[in-house]
């Protein structure tokens, strides 16, 4: 009901605006257009100036209101480079923005039509045109140079001692796999996927799979100051691993493997202090439209010290042991007794 009242009110406002506009047109004709036109012209010139001034004020207000809601300091080495490059680009484009907008509105005011004025016939000036072709070209070349230097650094081969973590997207959550003690991710085949006991389609004939650990809760653990290489894949449609706090992202495309690497530099605990937010958590967002649950495809990252990581890792059980245990008793023997009971529990719960 209230919706209809709103619409009726809107209609009323429309009719009023329209009637006023019509009346003002008639008034203009009655008073004589030659008289009205210079008045309107002056009014519009002033309104444009007011628009510009209010616009600058609005930009400032917007900045004040939002500056505390921005991302904290970058949590990766790449991100620091990104942030400085972003600021450099901001200075260049920001000054061009202010300069050109100011010129535009100033010219509008200064060269508004008056009775006496005639325009200046000025069809071209090759020297001027040459200047404002070359200056932007040089500025662009500089930005390209900075950009490509960073781009090459960001997309270079990951360091040899990098940790390897696989992250696989599916509608609508993230699966994370660690290579285990051998530091090798076993082979996967999408035809072997089974949502009950083989979510990634690991090939159990490949020994490298035996110690791989799979987390289905979308929580990724990383060691601070240790480079990590993400092996990115997708089970169904295109997803994207978005790491806003690390200033990184990469698509997850079915059928191909993509990678990125970075070095996390701030632990989750430190970041809680930096942001003054005890609930702070690094999030992995899906940044490529992937279906109706796209907005809920959330993962998290815990960055911790090597000691904390080792402690956490010691508690993990290989996915093979967890999911295939009854079928393959040989594997369970290798697992610690305590974890065996865990897996049995998990199975009986199903």
């Amino acid at each position: 009901m209230s919706g209809f009242i709103t619409i009726a009110l809107m209609m009323l406002v429309f009719i009023i605006i329209y009637q006023i506009a019509k009346a003002s047109e008639y008034a203009a004709i009655l008073k004589g257009e030659d008289k009205i036109r210079p008045q309107v012209n002056r009014l519009m010139a002033w309104l444009l100036v007011i628009f510009f001034v209010l616009g600058l004020y609005g930009i400032w207000m917007c900045h004040v209101a939002l500056k505390d809601k921005m991302l904290p300091v970058s949590a990766s080495e790449h991100g620091v480079k990104y942030d400085s490059m972003f600021m450099a680009t901001m200075w260049v484009t920001g000054s061009v923005f202010l300069l050109t907008q100011a010129i535009l509105f100033w010219f509008c005011f200064k060269y508004q039509s008056t009775e006496k004025k005639t325009s200046f016939f000025y069809p071209h000036n090759n020297k001027l045109e040459l200047i404002w072709t070359t200056v932007p070209a040089i500025a662009m070349a500089a930005l390209v140079a900075v950009g490509l230097r960073n781009w090459v650094a960001m997309t270079s081969e990951a360091p040899k001692d990098s940790a390897i973590v696989e992250i696989v997207g599916k509608q609508f959550n993230w699966l994370i796999r660690y290579p285990g003690k051998d530091n090798v991710l076993g082979k996967r085949d999408f035809r072997k996927i089974d949502d009950a006991n083989n979510v990634l389609g690991q090939d159990w004939n490949d020994k490298a799979n035996m110690d791989d650990i799979v987390a289905q809760n979308g929580e990724m653990h990383l060691v601070v100051n240790k480079p990590v290489k993400l092996i990115i894949g997708s089970r169904d449609v295109i997803h994207d691993v978005g790491l806003a706090h690390f200033r990184m992202k990469m698509d997850a495309v079915p059928g191909i493997v993509t990678t990125i690497w970075f070095t996390p530099t701030i632990t989750s605990t430190e970041m809680k202090k930096i942001t003054n937010n005890p609930d702070f958590i690094y999030e992995i967002s899906c940044d490529q439209m992937c279906g109706k649950g796209h907005y809920s495809m959330r993962g998290t990252i815990i960055v911790e010290t090597q000691a904390e990581y080792d402690e956490w890792m010691a508690k993990q059980q290989s996915y093979y042991a967890a999911s295939q245990a009854p079928a393959a008793p040989a594997a369970t023997e290798a697992a610690p007794a305590e974890q065996k009971t865990d897996s049995v529990k998990a199975i009986t719960m199903k």
Partner: protein, 606 residues
């Protein structure tokens, strides 16, 4: 029926039609249906494109109001939405499936149906024959077909809104596998098939139109109208058509392969997919291939949208500051530069798809190169109004707004074109803000400038000025209020195409801002209805123009009668003696010299 139609065309000097043909400019009563529906008069076809475009724009904008309500107020319900959308908004809350359907349709409608067909369809048809001095297009019949293919495409797209599984909902880019697999999303069912059929027909329409525009401009200019005497609108529309002709077929091939993948079991885009509880048999395709084919049109498409606005803004800025456009040749060369580079930058949409980083770096270089001709254009526009005698008419206000928005939106492209920055900003609200300002609002401002400027030519009447000024300021301020803060959200990493941000600790701090943006968007939506009202009422009730050349313009369209018939000029087509921008004292108290006036003895041609 079609036979008489052919005879009515203006170019009847060929073949056996000659004996029965009568020249288009000779007045004879035509049936309403032939005159206004199946018309072959380029002016009527232009109006058909414009009005269809306006209807689509209202639908597309209304969709954005619906999804902005969800984005701005995720915890509220709006029973009014249930009235409009029925089950898709049960209890007044949009379902995620339909939210994505609305987002997809908003993009498709505005990009293709409004800012491609509605913009270049309108102004290429209206202005090309009038400004080059031709009685009609090279092929009026093909021109009519171009509109009717667009109309059929429109019907398919409209029908897709009502199918049970909803319209296409994979984003306007419809990336497979999401768009290829019915299991992946509800919108990838019948809705997607209709979307593809509609877009295929749209490509046909666009090609029929584009070929016509190019051949008309190249072959049918009146005596004395050399290429370098053409107004910049024509140059811009020429390159728009060239871009469309060369890139739409590639999109078409991409769509054909997608149709095959969807219906005939091929694997062009599909590989190693496990969905709906089973592994599919597709192996060996590449999802990235589609993105290459799509963006090979998708990027030139941006310029298909921008160039007509640039051309019309050039014309309007020059005319209403009573001063020639500055650097006419530089403007043409920069148009050529943009057109050529438009084909060489498509992969900057794909920096983070896992494409080779080396390839990415080449696209960085080419992408930032395109900033140079754009900058030249901006500086030339600024110099055009410098020391002018500016009349702030409604079209002039929109042309000035166009320049302001083009600067704002163009500069943020420098961030996104640089892959090392795109790696963070990609698919965030920064992108949404960037393209909405530059190819959304800015292109719309070019279009509005054109509509307000040429409305007297279209209907022999003025639009209401007061409503025009209200429309301008509400839209100009509103556009900045909506899109400026979105840059901040994007810099903070907030992803686009999310239905709800409340579960995200990194992005939910913007909830009140999203509400603010939604309110601004709704106000701007209603401001556009002021324009719609003004447009339609003025067709019938607007103040009549009393002189054939109300803006004091040197170009040819204003040498036609106030309400030109089919054929445009009564008597011979005028001969052209000078360029389109001679804004100087003609010796009779006018501050411009028409293109049809011969050079005075001793006067230098431009």
């Amino acid at each position: 029926m079609s036979n008489t139609v052919v005879i009515d065309g203006p170019n009847v000097a060929h073949g056996h039609h000659a004996e029965t043909g009568h020249h288009g400019h000779e007045h004879h009563e035509q049936h309403f249906i032939m005159k206004y529906i199946f018309s072959m008069d380029h002016k009527i076809i232009g109006k058909q494109f414009l009005i269809t475009g306006i209807i689509w724009a209202i639908i597309g904008a209304l969709f954005s109001v619906f999804f902005r309500l969800q984005l701005g107020f995720p915890n509220e319900t709006f029973p009014i939405m249930e009235t409009f959308l029925g089950e898709w908004a049960k209890g007044g809350k949009l379902s995620p499936e339909f939210y994505y359907g609305l987002v997809t349709m908003h993009g498709t409608i505005l990009v293709f149906f409004v800012l491609t067909a509605g913009l270049s369809g309108t102004f290429a048809n209206l202005l090309i024959p009038l400004q080059i001095g031709a009685r009609d297009m090279a092929s009026p019949f093909m021109n009519m077909l171009s509109y009717w293919f667009f109309f059929i495409a429109s019907i398919f797209m409209f029908v897709s809104l009502f199918v049970q599984t909803g319209p296409a909902s994979g984003g306007w880019t419809t990336y497979p596998p999401l768009s290829a697999l019915k299991e992946a999303s509800m919108g990838s069912g019948l809705g997607m098939d209709l979307w593809l059929v509609s877009m295929a027909l749209f490509v046909v329409s666009s090609l029929l139109g584009g070929l016509n525009y190019v051949s008309t401009i190249l072959n049918m200019r009146t005596k004395g109208m050399t290429m370098t005497r053409l107004p910049l609108t024509i140059w811009a529309l020429f390159f728009t058509a060239v871009l469309g002709i060369l890139s739409f077929p590639v999109l078409f091939s991409g769509f054909v392969l997608l149709i095959f993948d969807r219906n005939f079991g091929t694997s062009f885009y599909l590989s190693e997919i496990f969905i709906g509880g089973k592994a599919l048999s597709h192996i060996g395709g590449s999802a990235i291939l589609y993105q290459h084919l799509f963006w090979f049109l998708g990027h030139p498409e941006v310029y298909i949208i921008m160039l007509p606005g640039m051309g019309m803004a050039s014309e309007v800025l020059s005319n209403h500051s009573r001063k020639p456009i500055f650097g006419y040749f530089a403007m043409i060369i920069s148009l050529i530069g943009i057109t050529v580079l438009a084909f060489l930058v498509w992969a900057h949409h794909m920096f983070v798809t896992g494409m080779s980083p080396f390839l990415g770096s080449i696209f960085v270089l080419l992408t930032l190169l395109i900033a140079v001709p754009s900058a030249v254009k901006v500086f030339n526009w600024l110099t055009t109004i410098w020391r002018g005698n500016i009349r702030f008419t409604v079209p002039m206000m929109f042309a000035l707004g166009f320049v302001s928005l083009f600067i704002s939106g163009g500069l943020t492209g420098i961030f996104l074109g640089n892959s090392a920055l795109d790696i963070h900003l990609h698919d965030t609200y920064f992108v949404v803000a960037h393209f909405h300002i530059v190819m959304g609002v800015s292109a719309f401002f070019g279009m509005f400038a054109g509509i307000y400027h040429w409305f007297p030519k279209m209907y022999g009447r003025y639009m209401n000025n007061t409503l025009g000024y209200i429309h301008f300021f509400l839209t100009f301020a509103g556009a900045y209020l909506i899109f400026w803060p979105m840059h901040y959200e994007g810099i903070a990493g907030m992803p686009r195409r999310y239905y709800d941000y409340s579960a995200w600790s990194s992005f939910n701090q913007f909830e009140s801002l999203n509400g603010f943006i939604s309110i601004a968007a709704i106000i701007v939506f209603f401001a556009q209805l002021i324009f719609v009202l003004n447009f339609f009422v003025s067709i019938f009730r607007g103040r009549k123009i009393t002189t054939p050349n109300p803006w004091g313009s040197p170009t040819l369209e204003w040498t036609t009668p106030i309400n030109p018939g089919h054929g445009n000029w009564e008597g011979d087509i005028p001969e052209v003696h000078r360029w389109a921008y001679d804004y100087k004292d003609d010796g009779n108290g006018n501050d411009f010299i028409s293109q049809t006036t011969p050079l005075k003895p001793g006067e230098e041609a431009h």
